[in-house]
Symmetry: C2
């Protein structure tokens, strides 16, 4: 055996390599569960996945791992190794920060709440939901308090940190406070402008086989490697699998094709990030995607910045015609108008690029005081309605199912997650602003079908960096500044109000 | 915690339950590898599966497991618990009997040989194969010697025992010696008889989507539970997955439909055995399928005894017509003649029910002296040719690729496995003979589409018993006698020579 000056670090890398291999089987089983598994397979699958989770939890909470982390700090590590050690410690912290008994209580509460919510939502049963959600919120508050004590962060910051390390309420208050000022006015101006721009609706049906082929052609156009991934169908689209074998899913309806096409383009952004994480470091935490917001910045770079670009609509138009035959709606300009139609609505996941942040700001402004104990669950509907009125001009009274019951995040206690969606949209706008500085003819290049400047920039600045830098460092290195929401505003104004 | 009089046994059951959960993830990953995985996913998958295999091997070779097995022997166990303990010990033995260094050498040798064989077979490269196969055989002989020393069995018996516990050369010599006497003459008489019975060939193409739907209809007819399983496509058809979620595969060609239909019916037999293993015992070794031959007796009960029954051809005929339109070839009698056409050929996997045992006897008569050191690999081609001449009247000189290079079993060192295929055919004939004694109008019942007597008998006698009894006990309880190849001969004579 070779002698090494970093025995503790080396021991850690082999532990995380083993975890990586086990995670592979876990990820494939999750994908299979969503894409293939017949209903009677679910109990056995749940038991198998629970066994694996327990096994990996034992590996991550083994006291030797903590010793290894402490000893490795004293070893002569390179910058890359030190970044890996930082990410190892982060993963260790996430498995060790909370007492097992609290984790189990929280899992029970969310599992009960989420299960009941599936029927309570269609039944508009807010009081029924409240009965379970109180316990979910109680354990969420307990977790926030414990994480805050140990990390020195505030309670809600400690929850955000699980998804978006380095992000804080102070920043979110500043960012969302700014957006809140200009967004309602912007929405109004866009809606007014679009009311004078008629758009032709496509006429279905759109056969599923043709839709699938169209989605796969769009994925190829966007550089997805089908030798290292697939597209399948699931009820809730997602990007899963492993970096060496990325499994994207979508869903199809015969009467509509644009939702699944744009959804597939969205997942392709997640997929290419995963496919291009640094190959030689796979298995080490430093190779992981930087954060949820940065991941979303990739899916939104693909879906919104590139996929909904007027030049890209020109690339899609002939593919759409080849898939479904010619119709007036498939003219490139009309296709682009279809992709960029803005309409305030009740449902976050159906929202367009312009109204989406309103849904996120609303959730942030309710979730934070909920966690901090300033409001209680029974206060939510009135707040929801008031904020929907302020931000989108919509009356939601009595409609719980399309209101606070619409998302799975609260029944699943994913407190601190929502902000990442809009942060991702803002980062994506910032990436494209930087690309345009580097490649002034970027828009012409996209329209001409040369997407290499986009992919090269993302590969060099985001994908290959993975978790080597903190999020602020990553943004600074890539664009010369940390997150700056002005780029997002400029993007919306340029796309929706110019011309 | 409740006190228990069987603490060691209880500890064992929880260890095997954990192994069962991990095996679930392994099985789904194997299925996915064959049915879905894109090519560039293979290295990561191999590494993940190797990690899991190592982890499970550590669990199975933990010295505490041996202690537990020894202590449980002294505990007051029920008959069922004692049967479970016997199967636990068998699983333990299979993981602990051979030194790790030998297992690794053998894996290296088979992996090298199998990899090269994929190209050597199409190139007819026997000398190239020999260079690798010598090492495969050497480690196979070492394994046989060590297993024989520890078990008290003869060397080849010790290898058979891995697949077919309780089976021995002494029995195989008696069984195959008997078949060898009457088979060549029977084949000749069948071929003569069929030469006077013209058969109409179906006219393709047969669209893949229609073939898949036909296969799924046949599976439903055969009681496959699609709420707990699926049919997919892979290069080499197999029955995989887990008992709660059985994954069958087939493959399709546009110019032929009967091969994939009958192949699917074959896998459905394996699948129903798995779907009907005793639910309350899943996770314990006593719930496993009894042996390879008994498993094959289920696939062949479905494919040959039932699926190729003239009455069943009458049930399939309308489904075939609905799938591909009407043609003369789809008349029930003609369909049955197509299913039961006998023609001596070079390839085992393409062989009909009558000539199949000749391929197995040949392999047994070569493999056994190879393992026992009576012959060497360079002696194989001459023996192969002589035996193909004696048994099937076929000249194979110089044709290695359709001769000793045709099967994956030797490159993969699956010595002792081949016999199970023909033992399965014999058991299947014995099961149906017993069914006919219990249900004298069985053939009329099948023709009328009432398959319940078949399924009920298999469920009561084979599926629900799983590994509760030894194979001889199982056969004795089900049919009043241990394996008796006379039923197989009677079946062939009745189906192929009567009328």
């Amino acid at each position: 055996m070779l002698t090494t000056t970093t025995p503790a670090y080396d021991g850690l890398t082999s532990t995380f390599q083993r975890l990586h291999h086990l995670q592979h089987l876990q990820s494939i089983a999750w994908w299979d569960q969503a894409a293939n598994m017949p209903p009677r397979g679910s109990d056995a699958r749940a038991a198998a996945l629970a066994e694996m989770a327990a096994l990996m939890h034992r590996m991550r909470t083994d006291p030797q791992l903590r010793d290894g982390l402490d000893r490795a700090e004293q070893e002569p590590l390179s910058d890359l190794q030190r970044a890996n050690l930082r990410e190892m410690r982060r993963e260790w912290w996430q498995s060790n920060a909370l007492p097992e008994s609290l984790v189990q209580r929280a899992q029970l509460a969310t599992s009960r709440c989420e299960h009941a919510w599936r029927k309570q939502r269609p039944a508009n049963d807010w009081p029924g939901f409240l009965a379970n959600f109180r316990e979910v919120l109680a354990t969420g508050r307990e977790e926030a308090t414990l994480l805050a004590e140990q990390s020195g962060l505030s309670r809600y910051d400690a929850l955000i940190d699980r998804y978006e390390p380095g992000m804080s309420c102070a920043q979110l208050d500043r960012i969302f406070g700014d957006v809140r000022q200009w967004l309602p006015g912007l929405i109004q101006r866009v809606v007014d402008k679009q009311s004078r721009e008629p758009v032709i609706a496509p006429v279905g049906p759109f056969p599923i086989a043709a839709q699938r082929a169209l989605c796969e052609r769009a994925m190829r156009l966007l550089g997805f490697d089908f030798e290292a991934g697939r597209l399948d169908v699931s009820t809730h689209p997602f990007a899963g699998g492993v970096p060496e074998d990325v499994r994207l899913t979508t869903r199809f309806r015969e009467d509509e094709f644009l939702i699944s096409l744009m959804g597939t383009i969205h997942e392709t952004g997640h997929g290419r990030y995963e496919q291009n994480r640094p190959r030689e470091l796979l298995g080490q935490p430093v190779s992981r995607a930087r954060s949820m917001a940065i991941h979303e910045s990739q899916s939104l770079s693909f879906e919104m910045q590139l996929g909904s670009h007027p030049g890209f609509a020109g690339l899609l138009a002939p593919l759409v015609r080849e898939s479904f035959g010619d119709q007036p709606a498939f003219e490139a300009g009309n296709l682009h108008r279809l992709m960029t139609r803005v309409k305030p609505g009740l449902i976050r996941v159906d929202a367009d690029e312009v109204t989406y942040p309103a849904h996120i700001i609303l959730r942030y402004e309710i979730e934070r005081p909920l966690i901090e104990g300033e409001i209680e669950p029974e206060d939510v509907p009135a707040l929801w309605d008031a904020k929907m009125g302020e931000l989108l001009g919509i009356d939601t009274r009595g409609n719980f199912k399309d209101g606070p019951l619409q998302d799975v995040h609260w029944p699943e206690a994913l407190f601190g997650y929502f902000a990442c969606y809009s942060l991702g949209a803002m980062y994506a706008a910032q990436w494209f602003a930087a690309m345009r500085r580097q490649t002034p003819d970027l828009d012409a290049s996209i329209a001409a079908g040369n997407l290499a400047p986009v992919f090269d920039w993302l590969r060099d600045n985001i994908w290959s960096a993975a978790s080597r830098y903190t999020t602020d460092e990553l943004a600074q290195r890539a664009t010369g500044e940390v997150l700056n929401p002005a780029h997002f505003r400029a993007h919306l104004e340029a796309r929706y109000l110019a011309g």
